[in-house]
């Protein structure tokens, strides 16, 4: 008896400790604490500062209109971290009801069967393709079905330093329009001493100068609309990469490398510090310039093209999705619908992002702002990256091909042939 008591106590302690550990690890559950018949919709997001404030306003307005639904916002760190969390949650069968999501990944996740098809709910709620910029709808859909609610967007333009233009005798109100003009301006603006650049006029691949940017500017297409096959070796795309390669040769790639590999962001941005006179970048850096160098005398213009016409750009952006296996799909859709319509869009992107609805951007007065209006005006002609299950692979392969070609490691054509082959081969398994 005495002995069993002696052993019983530690065992009791043991089970208590284990119980404590288990309860500490389990989640609070999705039942609603108020218990008033409300449905709680859990949303995972990575928003901070002004974007979070805006989202809270959206939630408040939404809850007022839908008293039976309560939104529960859960912060999960941004980008890759939250993707992994979401990935695990979906695989484990316990995902949130809504998650904010980079539209770029819609194709991949939809192909994996991990997103809820929103098409019929959208049709019922009057969410239509025509309400949005074409690329935003396109990028939210996979194989003709809607899988995400587009939330915000961006676009890319040529930034140029007007003071530098004046200094070297270029007209600050006439940014380059053709590729030839761009090259001439870059040449004038560059100041090189030995191997070191004191100032560099332009680097095609710096910042947002991806091959996507130039491929489209040169009039190329990355995907065959009819077959869905990837066409990274489209002659126009090859031409674009050839131009980038020649540009690199002229200024010596290794010497330029300093800018591209170690250039900082924010106040360390070489455009802000005057070390680079022109760059391709998105509207998302405008706020940084306002903050760190409000007196920077700069302008933005469409990305130059070979002909000086048919200006274009490309856009990405955020969206909201309902993961497969979400518990409150109907209520979650209610929120997505609110988010996607004008009222939600107006609250969501105020003083921060570009809306995916043109009329909302009108309302913000973006079209009266000399800088912002350029970013908005180009949107109807903007592209989205191909929505394919292997979007990330294509992205990486294009980046790698650009690097190899510009560094003289194979010709542009050879590199892009390889990209096309690799990605199309990877896509084959989805056709089965």
């Amino acid at each position: 008896m005495r002995r069993s008591k002696k052993i019983a106590f530690p065992i009791l302690v043991y089970f208590l400790v284990m119980l404590l550990l288990l309860t500490a690890c389990s989640t609070e559950g999705s039942s609603d604490p108020a218990g008033e018949g409300k449905t709680t919709v859990t949303m995972w997001h990575g928003l901070t500062s002004i974007d979070l404030d805006n989202m809270n306003k959206v939630v408040k307005a939404f809850e007022e209109k839908n008293p039976t639904i309560k939104m529960n916002l859960v912060y999960t760190e941004s980008s890759e971290g939250s993707d992994q969390k979401l990935l695990t949650a979906v695989a484990g069968g316990n995902p949130p009801d809504v998650a904010l999501f980079d539209r770029f990944k819609v194709g991949t996740w939809a192909a994996q069967g991990s997103l809820t098809d929103l098409s019929s709910m959208a049709a019922e709620s009057g969410i239509r393709k025509e309400m949005y910029y074409p690329f935003a709808w396109e990028e939210s859909s996979y194989q003709g079905k809607l899988y995400a609610m587009p939330m915000d967007t961006d676009s890319r333009l040529l930034f140029y330093n007007k003071d530098h233009f004046k200094e070297v005798g270029l007209d600050p109100d006439k940014p380059p329009q053709t590729i030839a003009e761009l090259e001439a301006a870059a040449d004038k603006l560059t100041i090189k001493e030995g191997k070191r650049f004191k100032r560099i006029g332009f680097i095609p691949w710096y910042s947002q100068g991806w091959l996507y940017t130039w491929g489209w500017a040169f009039g190329g297409e990355f995907q065959d609309a009819a077959t869905g096959k990837i066409t990274a070796n489209d002659p126009k795309v090859v031409e674009a990469l050839q131009w980038m390669t020649d540009f690199g040769k002229k200024y010596n790639v290794e010497d330029i490398a300093g800018f591209t590999s170690a250039a900082g962001t924010e106040e360390m941005d070489p455009f802000i510090s005057g070390q680079i006179s022109m760059k391709i970048n998105g509207n998302f850096t405008v706020k940084g310039i306002e903050k760190f160098k409000p007196d920077l005398n700069y302008g933005v213009a469409p990305i130059p093209t070979p002909t000086g016409t048919n200006f274009t750009t490309w856009s990405g952006g955020g969206s909201a999705i309902i993961p497969k296996g979400a518990k409150n799909v109907a209520a979650a859709w209610k929120f997505l619908e609110f988010l996607g319509k004008e009222e939600g869009q107006t609250l969501l992107n105020a003083d921060s992002q570009i809306s995916v609805i043109d009329a909302v951007n009108d309302k913000y007065g973006y079209k009266d702002d000399p800088i912002m209006k350029e970013f908005i005006n180009i949107l109807p002609n903007s592209h989205n990256r191909p929505v394919i299950p292997e979007g990330q692979l294509l992205w990486n392969e294009l980046a790698s091909a650009t690097e190899k070609a510009t560094r003289g490691n194979g010709t542009p054509k050879e590199n892009l042939d390889r990209v096309t082959e690799t990605v199309n081969k990877a896509l084959e398994k989805y056709d089965k």
């Binding site: 002995r3 002696k6 052993i7 530690p10 065992i11 043991y14 400790v17 284990m18 550990l21 890759e80 993707d83 992994q84 990935l87 695990t88 979906v90 695989a91 991949t108 996740w109 994996q112 069967g113 991990s114 030995g194 191997k195 070191r196 650049f197 290794e254 010497d255 490398a257 300093g258 800018f259 591209t260 590999s261 170690a262 900082g264 292997e390 990330q392 692979l393 990486n396 980046a399 790698s400 690097e403 190899k404 560094r407 490691n409 398994k429």
Partner: protein, 311 residues
């Protein structure tokens, strides 16, 4: 000796005490069980699962189908797989010996009886406290080709510095340089090893008329070999798993021209960005086999060069 003593003791214990001992064993295991269960659930089972997954097209989100050796066959035809192996071995081959050389040298310097030594020891240990991500950002600026401190200093003595992280030729050496900066952890272990060497050996050597160099070669280094052995094995395993620094430096892209795509980075890319978890599992097992084989080789050769005191 110790083992023998234990068994003698156990057999001498009367049976009542034996039972008491058995009971405390049970209780001991119970208290250790959270760890044991954790090890089983979060290490052993996932490891075994990953063997299976390496033969499938598992994508995390979908179970995938059994494809036999396809993943392994594809890997051997994947140029980036070979490139990542090359990069990883390059890094290991240079970093590990250098880290041992500088680690031992530094430890010997920090073992001298000089005033204020604690300050120096702290200085060399401090960098290991800096998180890898912060370290990467810091070095990105130090090594900036045009405005960085390193090239600035080189310029003063008339050397035109390379573009460091910007070029294929210098990106990996730069990484090795950065990694050597965090050597402090190993130095602490070497210092402990040095402290373990009895003074009598040095006194005896002194009497025999040995100079500093002879003392180092005949006394210090042989008696430090168990510690060097430990750091060699751990350093090699660590070097093969190089991830955070190059990932942060290149924003996960392995630039320039994949010269910074390390094995585990490519594994991560396949698993979590391309959803090819089966492929990534196969990579993990190849890495496991490589590291096991190399560790085995080091263990076998260690009999020749590792000297334990008292043997």
């Amino acid at each position: 000796m110790a083992k023998l003593a234990d068994s003698v003791q156990v057999s001498a214990i009367p049976s009542a005490r034996k039972r008491a001992l058995h009971r405390t064993n049970v209780i001991g295991w119970l208290f250790a069980s959270p760890w044991a269960i954790g090890l089983l659930c979060f290490y052993a089972i996932p490891m075994l699962m990953s063997i299976y997954f390496s033969f499938t097209t598992y994508s995390i989100l979908q179970p995938g189908e059994f494809v036999g050796m396809n993943n392994y066959r594809d890997l051997f035809q994947d140029p980036l797989f070979w490139k990542s192996i090359y990069n990883t071995i390059y890094f290991t081959v240079f970093f590990v010996p250098l880290s041992i050389f500088f680690g031992v040298a530094l430890a010997m310097m920090l073992n001298m009886k000089v005033k204020g030594m604690a300050v120096f020891r702290t200085i060399f240990f401090l960098p290991t406290l800096v998180p890898q991500v912060a370290l990467a950002v810091l070095w990105m600026w130090l090594l900036h080709p045009n405005f960085g401190l390193v090239n600035g200093m080189l310029a003063h003595i008339g050397i035109d510095g390379p573009s460091w992280l910007g070029g294929e030729a210098w990106s990996k050496p730069s990484l090795i340089l950065m990694s050597l900066w965090g050597i402090g952890q190993a130095v602490v272990i070497y210092l402990a090893g040095l402290g373990d060497i009895p003074d009598e050996y040095y006194e005896a050597a002194q009497i025999d008329g040995a100079n500093w160099f002879q003392k180092t070669r005949k006394v210090t280094l042989p008696l430090l070999t168990p510690v060097i052995f430990y750091n060699l094995v751990m350093g090699m395993i660590g070097a093969f798993q190089q991830f955070t620094l190059p990932y942060t430096l290149t924003k996960g892209q392995g630039t320039p021209a994949n010269s910074m795509t390390f094995y585990v980075m490519y594994l991560y890319e396949n698993g979590f960005r391309y959803f090819k978890m089966g492929y990534a599992s196969a990579m993990a097992w190849i890495l496991f086999i490589i590291v096991m084989a190399l560790t085995g080789i080091i263990f076998i050769t260690s009999k020749r060069w590792v000297h334990y005191q008292g043997k």
